[in-house]
Amino acid sequence: MAEKDEEIIICRCEEVTLGEIREWINKGYETFDELKRVLRVGMGPCQGRGCREIILRELSAKTGRPVSEIHPGTFRPPSKPVKLSLLAEIGDE
């Protein structure tokens, strides 16, 4: 069962498994931002909407700090993906 857990895909945008996330947390990558940089979790089109809570819980379990005290990383604009053509032509109207 535990082995199966490790294979679960947590970040669907970048296809990162729970096992990989735990492996890097154990290597000392104990902030969301550092996991983001090394594994690209939260860097895909959804910006971590699917994986962030699960990763914060994993960080909490490792560090003993409540999720509310763990920095959740940065959400960047645009809040959802927008086509280049749409952005390029907005000024023309």
Partner: protein, 383 residues
Amino acid sequence: MTLKRIADVVVIGAGIQGCSIAYNIAKSGLRNVVVLEKDTICSGSTGRCGAGIRAQWGTEMNCRFGLAAIEKFERLQEELGMDCGLHQGGYLVVAYRDSEFERLKESMRLQNSLGINTRVVSYAEAREICPGLSAEDAVGFTFHDRDGHADPFLTTFAYMEAARRLGVKFLRFTEVKAIKAVAGRVKGVKTNRGDFDAPVVVNAAGGYAQQVAKMAGVEIPNFSERHEILITEPVEPGVCPPMLISFSGNFYIQQRPNGSMIGGCSPEGHPQDYGLGTSWNFLESMSRTFVKLLPRTRGIRVARQWSGLYNMTPDCQPILCESDDLKGFFLSCGYSGHGFMFGPISGELLAQQILGQKPTIPIGMLHYKRFERGELLVEPAVV
């Protein structure tokens, strides 16, 4: 954890420069090195950069650094034991003015004389290198096939992990508040987590380098500009195989190995307020550049935009030296937007100087006193 408070070397900043310097010092046998980082590893300019690597420069010093860095990158995975995401699709430089094209050709002759095989390519060839390119308004192109890009995060972490294996300590959330000195010699630093004593302190603080220098009583003319950048969702490879760049067009565009496209430009100057905000104007302007140059990107979606600091010097070349004003205080800063790509070589050269060896590329010209003396080495090829 009990912190080791006495070190041989304290490095301020855990971006590419700090990590590369620490690794190269430790590799030479001096293992008691501490790297202090006020945030997390790779959280500053390195982690926000456009990731490009090139040898197509306009000054001899930058050409030498660029070529030496490419040679390092080509063997970095082997040396550090981690994939650094290197992709060598070349840099295709686009000139829109005759005078600009003449200058590119002049730089090309300099590059060729230094062993960099840059060549002029026709529009037809440019379209073979970058299928779908639309640049009828360009007057000429140069191309160097060993240029490209690497992953700034993985490269920095690779240096950090290799340095750690050699005994280097990395302390995050540790901000330097003061530099300690006695009789013109550096003695260590004061931080929010106490003092660290060392006979050598290195300023690799990126966008904040001038603030750290000031703590040491060292005046440098550096200033930090905000530059913006965006990334798209991943698409199939081959949409933009080379790095497309133009100095007059003021843009760069590349495609990461995972398929997402990165683009940066400068629509309205560069605020110097240390802010890391993002603007609508950039988003609109960069999107126009994308669809004009690569019309088939029209349907690709922008996923994120962010900004970062270029630590600028008056001649757009770095400061890499020991201070005359405070012995034992070294500087590696002012890379003016190309610190990531030079990191592998500049870290090695400064480590050599710190260890009393002769740097394999002479760096005397990169002393900050050149600005006082008026001996500027102006680099024209910067976006």
